[in-house]
């Protein structure tokens, strides 16, 4: 039996895409991890932080710190929420040395799902099978704040029956950006349509990403455009057999 890991499923997965969380738990359990779900968890606070409301973000961050204080390892199905905790919590607590020390402890034990698999669990083949042609969308925060690029691709390469076709460019933003998506909805929508062109250009039948928020944006635009492409979180792909 491997170690214990705690899930931080994110508020978006909890409320809108629960199957992603279940898929992630399934994959981790198959690999022999004991998985727990600290029930006090809510949100990482990113919506407030990115909207300029730092004191509100700080309150939510404090709650997060308390909730996961006892966890040894935290796994998150989102690059963006992981980056919020691992990169921006420190900005919030610059003036509170004690909390800052706790933040630095937290930074060491929180992992985005795909890098947890490749770097901590040390696996690339999780025994998944999915007969599908897919393309991969790099979430901006996973790519640029966490430097994640190869881990998800290595995992996808080992899924039986799956063909990965890279879109050009894979690394351009889908236009979600949290409240940006509604404050500048027309612009955000235009960015999503540019992303769709790249996706459709590959001929793939599914778009895979590490971030539920990107997938909500992309699926929302796909559905509006009436395209026959589905979106899948990497966890859902890896849980398939």
């Amino acid at each position: 039996m491997r170690n214990q890991v705690s899930l931080f499923v994110t508020c978006m997965v909890d409320q809108l895409f629960p199957k992603v969380g279940i898929a992630m738990a399934d994959v981790l359990e198959r690999l022999g991890y004991r998985v727990d779900f600290p029930e006090a968890q809510t949100c990482c606070g990113q919506p407030a932080f990115n909207s300029g409301y730092r004191s509100e973000a700080r309150e939510v961050a404090r709650h997060f710190l308390r909730t996961f204080e006892k966890s040894e390892t935290i796994v998150v199905p989102s690059g963006s929420c992981t980056a919020m905790v691992a990169h921006h919590y420190a900005d919030l607590f610059q003036k509170e040395p004690e909390t800052l020390a706790k933040v630095h402890e937290l930074e060491k034990k929180i992992y985005e799902f795909s890098t947890f698999l490749t770097d901590v669990a040390g696996v690339e083949d999780v025994g998944a099978r999915l007969e599908e042609v897919v393309t991969f969308h790099d979430g901006c925060h996973a790519l640029r704040e966490l430097g994640i690029q190869s881990a998800p691709r290595r995992l996808l390469a080992r899924v039986r029956g799956l063909e990965l076709r890279e879109m050009q460019p894979a690394e351009e933003c889908c236009g979600f950006g949290g409240t940006f998506a509604v404050k500048f909805s027309e612009l955000s929508g235009a960015m999503a349509r540019t992303k769709l062109e790249a996706i459709v250009g590959t001929g793939a039948k599914a778009v895979v990403s590490l971030d539920p928020s990107c997938l909500m944006q992309i699926q929302g635009a796909i559905s509006r455009a009436g395209l026959n492409v589905r979106t899948m979180h990497l966890a859902e792909v890896l849980a398939s057999r």
Binding site: V60, F180, L187
Partner: protein
């Protein structure tokens, strides 16, 4: 968001030709930059960025020292340094000098700093002729427009637009071939160069240990501007300093690569004072106008001070998915794109266009390509916080503030959070797993309505993750 900002974004998005022109042009520049900075082509690229960042940080952190060193060295070579706090002082200085020397015609090479202070308009108002000589800038001067892009100012104009402008303004027969249009401009501007009394240039770098101005360009118009007239005036922001001529080896390798994907621009001029005894040509008088115009306001904040490291390469514009959609003229000031979004609020105050720092998906592409490693996303986040603090002080946008107070309250109370989630889910219409094109009132308001303008909404699952987890 101001009505103006919103309207300009909308109009740009709705203009299919403009969308294609801007997206294609920036895409090409973006790809070229990527090719010449790739690890196998330039293995020292990241090292150069770090060095450039360290040099800029050091210079800005000790700016007064380098300003004075620069000043001493310019004077030692027979040049003059003039400090100007704002637009009026810059134009007063030029007007006064022109009057003393009896000058009528001024040729100008590209300078964003003079755009900042509306120098051309001010000079023309006093009866001087000031002619832009960079082809793109010349086109825009004839069209009475501001630059669309820091590096490629007329990026939004097609050959047909240029043909229309030249036909109307130069009273010539219509010509649409870019080569021929360029040669028409060359002929008109060559006459101006040979007659001009004063040349005004910008500067890419001011070299403290040399008292020198460095100008990077491709056309040769900056060389002409600084060589043919008897008087050369450089107008540059105080942040353009670097310590040593030797540091150019770092900056020149980064600048052209980041801007246009060239290894070096065609012409790099390193100019130190007026023509010297024995030299055959060059200006007789050499002035450097050091402009503040708000820059000193950026210095006190250690986190945001880095905004002054910018070397105006335009790489952040070309890679920015927002700039590539809304173009340069949607931005509220002369600087556009990510760098415009971080310097405009600091020059003009956070409430000048409060929405500006929010017009970003925070994708981080700008920070990744910045040759001097300005952490643009981080500065954007700090500016967002500044805007919200200002709004809170002035009791503006109180509904949003309340919404985020509620957000924080709910998110720190797991049971309330869970209940709120279930209530929201129960209100969502049944959809059989299909994504929703619209929702009934009262849900079709605010953010939900905005989302639904362009995208469908996910259906609410019958159970939240935590409910599923409990029944597992």
């Amino acid at each position: 968001m101001s009505v103006e900002f919103d309207r300009k974004i909308h109009l740009t998005l709705a203009d299919a030709n403009l969308q294609l022109a801007v997206y294609t042009a920036t895409g090409r520049l973006k790809e070229k930059r990527k090719e010449v900075t790739a690890a196998d082509v330039l293995p020292e690229y990241q090292d150069l960025r770090s060095q450039a960042n360290a040099l800029k940080k050091h210079t800005i952190d000790n700016l007064d020292h380098y300003l004075e060193e620069f000043e001493r060295n310019v004077q030692a070579r027979g040049g003059h340094v003039v400090y100007c706090k704002d637009a009026t002082e810059v134009s007063d200085f030029v007007l006064d000098l022109a009057k003393k020397r009896g000058s009528k015609l001024i040729v100008k090479s590209k300078s964003m700093t003079t755009e900042e202070v509306d120098l051309n308009e001010r000079l023309e108002h006093h009866g001087l002729e000031a002619v832009e000589t960079d082809l793109g800038e010349y086109i825009l001067q004839l069209a009475h427009e501001k630059p669309y892009h820091i590096v490629a100012p007329a990026l939004h104009k097609t050959r047909y637009d240029v043909a229309d402008i030249f036909t109307k303004e130069l009273k010539i027969e219509r010509e649409t071939v870019p080569e021929k249009l360029t040669m028409i401009a060359r002929a008109v501007l060559r006459e101006k160069f040979l007659k001009a009394d004063i040349g005004i240039s910008g500067a890419n770098f001011l070299i403290a240990d040399s008292g020198a101005v460095t100008i990077v360009e491709n056309e040769g118009n900056a060389r002409l501007t600084t060589s043919t007239p008897k008087i050369h005036i450089t107008v540059a922001g105080i942040e353009k300093l670097i310590p040593r001529a030797q540091d150019l080896a770092v900056f020149l390798k980064l600048l052209a690569r980041s801007a246009t994907g060239q290894l070096l621009s065609v012409y790099t001029s390193f100019l130190a004072g007026p023509r010297r005894a024995g030299e055959v040509d060059g200006p007789e008088e050499f002035y450097v106008v050091l402009v503040d115009n708000g820059r000193t306001k950026l210095l006190p904040d250690r986190g945001k001070r880095q905004s002054l490291y910018c070397i105006r390469c335009g790489a952040c514009l070309n890679t920015c998915p927002v700039y590539r959609k809304i173009g340069g003229h949607s931005f509220p000031w002369v600087y556009s794109g990510p760098i415009g979004a971080i310097i405009t609020p600091q020059f003009m105050g956070p409430t000048h266009e409060p929405a500006l720092p929010f017009a970003s998906s925070l994708c981080g592409a700008c920070g990744e390509v910045c040759p001097v490693k300005i952490d643009i996303p981080k500065v954007l986040l700090e500016l967002r916080s500044d805007v919200k603090k200002a709004e809170t002080r002035e009791k503006q946008n109180r509904l949003e503030k309340l919404a985020f107070r509620i957000f924080a309250w709910v998110m720190t109370r797991p049971r309330v959070y869970e209940m709120a989630g279930r209530i929201a889910a129960s209100m969502a219409p049944a959809s059989d797993g299909k994504w929703l094109r619209n929702v009934p009132p009262p849900m079709n308001m605010g953010p939900v309505k905005a989302w639904l303008n362009d995208r469908d909404l996910p259906p609410s699952p019958s159970k939240s993750f935590r409910q599923m987890w409990r029944s597992r």
